[in-house]
Structure formats: structure tokens, C-alpha cells
Symmetry: C2
Subunit: 190 residues, 2 copies
């Protein structure tokens, strides 16, 4: 999706620690018209895959997951980062270590929202080493649900998570793959 590469070049900013800041359109201030196009593109890529649910871990992928699910005509399931007062005890869970935040959290989803008949599309804003997706894979396996594939706004190709998943035979569609970045330049995978 050339549109995503152009948006990153126009609006993204590289920060120390291999952080690509896209807060002004993707995950802090949301360019909703642009994200709607992102959602439509994800829906186009997976429209013939029989997806029954889109899943994402809160919070920065929620907007894209919602729009992709809307255009696919399916619900979006939001995995929570910890149990809360109105969370059923009857959950699937996984321990996930966050590259961005440098911590470990428990991802949980109520069992009632995933089942063995589900064909699930994982949606997220970023894919780096792939820890979040590994955690979601584990939760889908607990539910007996099928993983149809992943749709990612921005893959950090140089961190290898996406290619590892592809080697395992998982379909990973990233709207932009950053192969390298410096303070002054971002190189996208051809």
C-alpha cells in the first residue's frame, strides 16, 4: 500500500531506540479518513478468506481493527491487557513482553468471544519482533480457533518478526515494511 509509505515519509519521525513515531496520524491523533482507507485495504486483502472475527490487543490497534472489521462485515474482539472489574474469570490468556514499553503483561479475552468455529484475522498498528502476535496465536489455539492471517499497518522488517511468521506459513500482510531507518531516511521493502 503505497499510501502508507507516503504517509510515513510525510508524517513519521524516527526517534532514538529504533522508534518510528507516527502519533500524528496512526495512534495518538488518528487521521480517521486515512485509517478508513487502511481498513478498506485490509478488507480487500482478506475479503475471500472467510474471516469471522478481527482481533487486536488494546489499545493502539483498536481504530484500525474496528474499521477493517466494519468493512469485512464482522465483529472486532479487543483483547485486554489485564483483568478488570467487569471481566469474567472465564478467560483465555497469554503472557506477552512488550518491545515498545519494555514490560511484560497478561493479555486476556473472555472465552465467550472466541470459539472453535472462528476464522480470525489479527490486526495491529505495528509488528516488530512479533511477541503480541505470538500471544494472540496462543489464545486462538486455546480456543481452537483458526488463524487466517495478520494485517499490520507498519512492519519493522529489520526486527524480523514478520519474516519468522511467514516462514511458519502464516499469511502476514503489512501495508508498509520498513527495512531500515536512520534519523534522515526510511527505506521500505520493495
Amino acid at each position: 500500500m503505497k499510501l502508507m509509505e507516503e504517509k510515513i515519509r510525510d508524517c513519521g519521525k524516527v526517534l532514538p531506540g529504533n522508534i518510528l513515531k507516527v502519533g500524528n496520524f496512526l495512534n495518538q491523533q488518528l487521521d480517521t479518513a486515512f485509517l478508513s482507507e487502511v481498513g478498506k485495504e485490509i478488507a480487500r486483502l482478506y475479503k475471500d478468506s472467510g474471516v469471522t472475527k478481527v482481533i487486536t490487543i488494546e489499545a493502539s490497534g483498536i481504530a484500525i481493527a474496528t474499521l477493517a472489521a466494519l468493512y469485512l462485515g464482522v465483529p472486532a474482539v479487543i483483547v485486554k491487557k489485564h483483568s478488570s472489574a467487569n471481566q469474567s474469570k472465564d478467560v483465555y490468556s497469554a503472557e506477552i513482553s512488550s518491545f515498545t514499553h519494555g514490560n511484560v503483561y497478561t493479555a486476556v479475552v473472555a472465552k465467550e468471544y472466541l470459539n472453535a468455529n472462528d476464522k480470525v484475522l489479527i490486526v495491529d498498528d505495528f509488528l516488530a519482533v512479533g511477541n503480541a502476535i505470538k500471544g494472540l496465536q496462543s489464545m486462538l489455539a486455546q480456543a481452537g480457533a483458526e488463524l487466517v492471517g495478520c494485517a499490520i499497518a507498519i512492519e519493522k522488517g529489520f526486527q524480523g518478526g514478520g519474516d519468522l511468521l511467514r516462514k511458519e506459513g502464516i499469511r502476514v500482510e503489512s501495508l508498509a515494511i520498513v527495512d531500515s531507518m536512520t534519523d534522515t531516511d526510511i527505506t521500505f521493502r520493495a
Copy 2:
């Protein structure tokens, strides 16, 4: 919005502690077609108010805020619950105590996403005592931005937050106002 009342009657569940569980359509498994209608209704209510930005605190209001902003043709700003590695130090912030989670957190938004020219619509899934909105009001005041009003999916009328805001002259549009609830019945404000 009768549609929201019907949806709550059909799909909602009352849990001990005055908790209305709507996880199967509003904030855990998202009924995206329904939430799109919610977004359209919010946009209809505020279409002539000159809104420049929609704002919400992560995470459960993000889907509705995104869709409302999309249909209003403006960006959505997501206020974070704590500072993170890719968060600028240059932020507006407020301390907010959460009724649902029984804790206190710091809400933060980068100064670059709010300014004195903004006319801001607050969107959230729930309004109970109104603490989150008070925190957002404080952050808008820090930015010199104008609060146009609030759009809420479900207001717990019996907790009084919405009526206090209305008494202050703030426009509060709730798509359903629950005036009382028991294990077996939910009464909506006429």
C-alpha cells in the same frame, strides 16, 4: 437513540456492583455495524457545532470515537493512561480516578495534538460520575481549547455525572440514559 436502548435490553447484562456488562457489542467484542450507526448518530447530533477534533481516553471509547470522528470528518485524539517510551515529555495531563477499576491514573496527551483553536467533542462509551470528563475538561483548559460537548454511548443517570455537567451548561448527548437497573430490569430515562 432507541437503537441503543434496544441493544442494551437485548444484549446487556447487569452484574453486582451496578456494573452494566455490554462486552458482547460495545467494548470487548465490538458489533462494528452497530457502532458505525452510533458514530453516524453522534456525527448527526454535532454536525453543526464546528467540531475540529474528537477526544477520548483509551481504551474502551476508541472505536466509537474513531467512527464519530470519521463521520464528522475530523481527527480523533486518543488520551493515554500513562506516559510511554514514545511519548513526548511535552504533555497536558490530569489525575483521574476510575469508577470501574477503582484506581487513579494519569491521563496524558502530547501538547502538539490540542491547541487554542480546537473545538473539541468528548466521546466515551460510559458516563457514570463523570471523572474522566472532568479530567479531559482540565486538559482542554490547559490547551485553551473549547469544549463543544460530550457524546456518550451509555450514561448511568443514577450516578449523576451527566446531570452535574448539564447544570454547568455543558452539552451532554447520551444515546441511552439508564435511570435504574436491577438484575431483571433496566429503566431508561424517557
